[in-house]
């Protein structure tokens, strides 16, 4: 059994590659929908440079009848919409893999290094669309048809998906697209190059949703009752803005594309002052511009949520790729000291759950909460069980929205560090919410008194103790006793879980601790986990070992091994599988 296929699983991996600007992602997602609705689990990975047209774009789709946790590198069917796609992906092709291409685009015999034994399927993508009266952009649809024809999968499911996709257009459009798909399927099926597996729709499976991390986070925020979302576009966070703009207004959310990230963060603080649940999402560069106002949220005790979706930095970095290099940045951004919470979702379920929990934590603590993700989680869709929105709760903490108050002090010193928060507009709610150090009322003039300063500074920081009680605790996977114990945070959870499932049948036992709340750091849990382990490792997507350093700092303990990656790509289960075997050899 090659790595990448769980025992007894039926699985196919499809890659579509070609120039940017030809709707490869949209086409691939139709294919994902087809398989997901047919009862399969899917996981996709779109890789594209920061260009609109040209360059090399690929969409990779993993389809399995078993539970899967991540993408893989292996490809069984390669759809090459241009010549350079073939050499770029030759080394990931499995034995007997198929290549679907249009002989009008290039001559396959001119491509160097194509091994024997592949199933080469020429499909006249362009001729077919003109035959059925279609347009150039429908080449993708012919190719999708060809993929299904090669697999021997019923084309009707793709027809249904196309009908849905074009339901708002003239009926002829869907019809032509369906004809393209059918013609592609017929052509590929007749190539005398049989697909080795028997794949057909599976009846009776629980329904799945097909969703990416940003969509999951947005849904969580909406469920929490978000009232204000502000952002300045930045990959990979922009799709949250698009989602909120599309769905938010009708649900009572004011959504603002601001002039810059400084405005976004300051607006979020202002909206929170006015009583809204408020969030902004960005990537590292945008967060740099937000830093001062992020600290403002800390000292002014504002309940705000910031989504920080990491891409490789510094500066503009690699806009469309992934990394986990903003951990320390999230922990330390902004001058001075103030309490913050940093949550790190590892997959779509986490993103939804932390998406709504973040607002409760922010409200209860009256301090900023970061949801730290990355492009790998933000951008790629996978099939998951529909989120359980009935589990969502709203806890606004010590917030008073209406009525009348007397002797009000916004920053009253309390045991847990949290003071009553009364909205402007309430009778008696006079207060000064302040970026300067301040006294209990909020006046800056008295804030420079050393005793007042110390009292307020310590009051704020006390909230971290409360944070430890209410924030998500680490998640554990695998057996209690294992040959290797892995600590990680964020999206690396997905390929590690996948690799763990491949290692188990080989008799290699691995367990994993996912740090879900990175700050305040769960030092005791980490010490317990490491104390019980035989061999230990940290796996993280950055150069300098930021999580490992944090463990040393907070636990005075170290791990035996580190696997780091910072080339813009997520860890693959193939890489992890091989590395873990090597470490344990």
């Amino acid at each position: 059994m090659p790595a990448g296929i769980p025992h007894g699983a039926t699985e196919v991996r499809i890659r579509i590659g070609g120039p940017a600007g030809f709707g490869i992602k949209a086409a691939g997602q139709s294919l994902a929908r087809v398989f997901t609705r047919a009862g399969y689990e899917t996981f996709d990975l779109t890789e594209y440079p920061s260009l609109i047209k040209g360059g090399h774009n690929t969409y990779h789709l993993r389809v399995s009848d078993h539970e899967i946790h991540s993408h893989v590198l292996a490809t069984d069917i390669l759809v090459a919409l241009d010549k350079q796609t073939v050499p770029l992906h030759l080394d990931e092709l499995t034995e007997g893999a198929a290549i679907i291409y249009d002989p009008k685009d290039f001559d396959m015999s001119e491509v160097e290094g194509v091994p024997e034994g592949l199933c080469i399927i020429p499909v006249p993508l362009t001729d077919i669309i003109y035959d059925v009266g279609g347009q150039k952009i429908m080449r993708n649809v012919v190719a999708l048809g060809a993929v299904l024809g090669h697999i021997g999968f019923p084309i009707e499911l793709l027809h249904a998906s196309l009908e849905e996709q074009f339901s708002h257009k003239a009926p002829e459009i869907a019809e032509v697209n369906k004809k393209c798909a059918s013609a592609g399927a017929e052509h590929a099926a007749g190539q005398g190059c049989p697909f080795p597996l028997d794949m057909h729709p599976i009846e009776g499976r629980d329904p799945r949703i097909l969703i990416d991390g940003n969509e999951a986070l947005s849904l969580g925020a909406l469920a929490a009752g978000i009232g204000f979302y502000a952002a300045y576009p930045m990959t990979p966070a922009s799709s949250v803005l698009h989602f909120m703009a599309k769905h938010g207004e009708d649900l009572g959310v004011i959504v603002k594309h601001t002039e810059d990230e400084l405005a976004a963060m300051n607006m979020v603080v202002g909206a929170a002052f006015g009583g809204a649940r408020a969030m902004c999402c960005t990537s590292g560069g945008g967060f740099a511009l937000m830093n001062e106002a992020f600290g403002l949220a800390g000292v002014s005790e504002s309940a705000v949520v910031v989504g920080l979706m990491t891409r490789p930095g510094p500066a503009t970095g690699m806009p469309t790729w992934t990394e986990q290099s903003d951990l320390r940045y999230a922990l330390h951004a902004a001058q001075g000291e103030f309490p913050r919470v940093v949550l790190a979702p590892g997959d779509r379920d986490d993103a939804f759950t932390m998406g709504w929990q973040a607002f409760n934590i922010a409200d209860v603590l009256q301090t900023p909460v970061i949801v730290l993700g990355d492009a790998y989680l933000s951008d790629h869709r996978a099939s998951v069980a529909p989120f359980d929105s009935s589990a969502v709760t709203v806890d606004r903490g010590k917030l008073i929205t209406e009525g009348e108050v007397t002797d009000y002090l916004r920053y009253r010193l309390t045991e847990d560090g949290v003071s009553e928060r009364v909205l402007p507009g309430v009778k008696g709610a006079e207060q000064l919410v302040n970026s300067y150090e301040h006294d209990e009322f909020g006046y800056g003039a008295q804030g420079e008194d050393p005793d007042v300063r110390v009292a307020q500074n310590e009051k704020r920081m006390r909230k971290l103790d409360l944070a430890r009680e209410i924030c998500p605790t680490p998640a554990y996977y695998g057996p209690t006793e294992a040959d290797l114990s892995i600590i990680l945070f964020g999206s690396t959870k997905m390929p590690v879980r996948e690799a763990m499932s491949w290692l188990e049948p080989d008799g290699v036992s691995v367990n994993m601790m996912q740090i879900t709340t990175v700050w305040p750091f769960p030092a005791e849990e980490v010490m317990t986990f490491l104390g019980a382990a035989r061999k230990t490792a940290v796996i993280e997507g950055n150069l300098t070992g930021q999580l490992r350093g944090l463990i040393r700092q907070e636990c005075l303990l170290d791990v035996d091994h580190t696997l780091a990656r910072h080339d813009g790509r997520p860890f693959s289960p193939e890489q992890l599988y091989a590395w873990i075997k090597e470490v344990l050899a």
Binding site: A223, A224, G225, G252, I254, N266, M267, F273, L423
Partner: protein
């Protein structure tokens, strides 16, 4: 109606004796009192500077934000709490330097709030550096050979971006300033009052006497407040040279331009109207939206 003195609190102003901020402070209290504004009906948001220190000296449920960033805080406060009258107090360094883009964009948006600029043409709090509105060639600790840029023209800038209410006041004429404030607060849309607020400590050029010799009131002329082009020309003309005499440079104060029926940003926002805390009283049902992902 709260009396003027009720708007003050126990804190004594820390501004230098004779500072123009006193006049602006007094005019705002009078305007609030004359408009019969109770303490739960308005909120003031300040930037950082000497003007911002005023946050300690007036009663409100207010917000003392960052240097240059009062506007975005105030904008979202307005959207979250539509019933509040939101007033922003900014400095010239604060609002026309760091905060310039927020100023331009807020004008474009025509958000329904009031913007009071403490324009002392100098950085007061940080001890006398040149500001974006300092006169051309003005010498300061940061510009010993004189400012080489032309000053920012806030009135022209606002007019170019479609301002619906733009006025200039003088901190030395409190009754006049009070009337401008009242008109600005009552205006539906983004109302800007740029106030010459002499800094008696650092700006030795644009002093109270300097202004007194030059200001005149637009409403005492046949000024047409509905002529945007004329207002723009006037804003350009009122730039001064350091050496100009009172006859050469006249400083018009009053309402340059106003229009009253223009749509505000909020008019176009479907979700605007109810205070936003109301949508967070219980979880929002997103099950239908989740089902769309099938």
């Amino acid at each position: 109606m709260p009396e003027v003195k009720e708007y003050t609190n126990q804190n004594k102003p820390t501004w230098c004796p004779g500072c123009g901020n006193f006049g602006m402070w007094e005019a705002l209290k009078r305007a609030l009192s004359e408009l019969d504004m109770d303490f739960d009906e308005y909120s003031i948001v300040w930037g950082i500077g000497c003007h911002g220190n005023g946050a300690d000296f007036i009663r409100t449920a207010g917000f003392h934000g960052l240097h240059g960033r009062a506007l975005p805080v105030a904008s979202a406060l307005k959207w979250a709490q539509p019933n509040l009258n939101v007033i922003v107090e900014a400095g010239d360094g604060d609002g026309y330097g760091l905060g310039l883009s927020h100023f331009v964009h807020s004008v474009r948006r025509n958000i329904d709030m009031t913007y009071l600029a403490h324009d002392n043409q100098i950085y007061g709090l940080t001890t006398g550096q040149a500001s974006p509105t300092s006169d051309h060639l003005m010498r300061s600790v940061s510009t010993p050979k004189g400012v080489l840029e032309e000053p920012v023209n806030p009135i022209g800038l606002a007019l170019a971006e479609g301002a619906t209410f733009i006025a200039r006041g003088f901190a030395g004429d409190i009754p006049h300033l009070t009337e401008l404030y009242k008109a600005a607060i009552q205006h539906k849309g983004f109302a800007v009052v740029d106030v010459y607020q002499p800094c008696v400590t650092w700006n030795k050029h644009n002093t109270f006497p300097w202004f007194r010799e030059r200001v005149y009131k637009l409403e005492e002329t046949d000024w047409d407040t509905s002529d945007r082009t004329a207002a723009f020309d006037l804003s350009m003309k009122s730039f001064r040279e350091l050496t100009c005499t009172p006859d050469e440079c006249r400083v018009p104060i009053g309402i340059y331009y106003r229009e009253d029926d223009t749509e505000t940003y909020e008019d176009g926002v479907t979700a605007y109207g109810e205070p936003l805390y109301k949508v967070a009283e219980e979880p929002r049902d997103v099950s239908a939206l989740i089902a769309e992902f099938r």
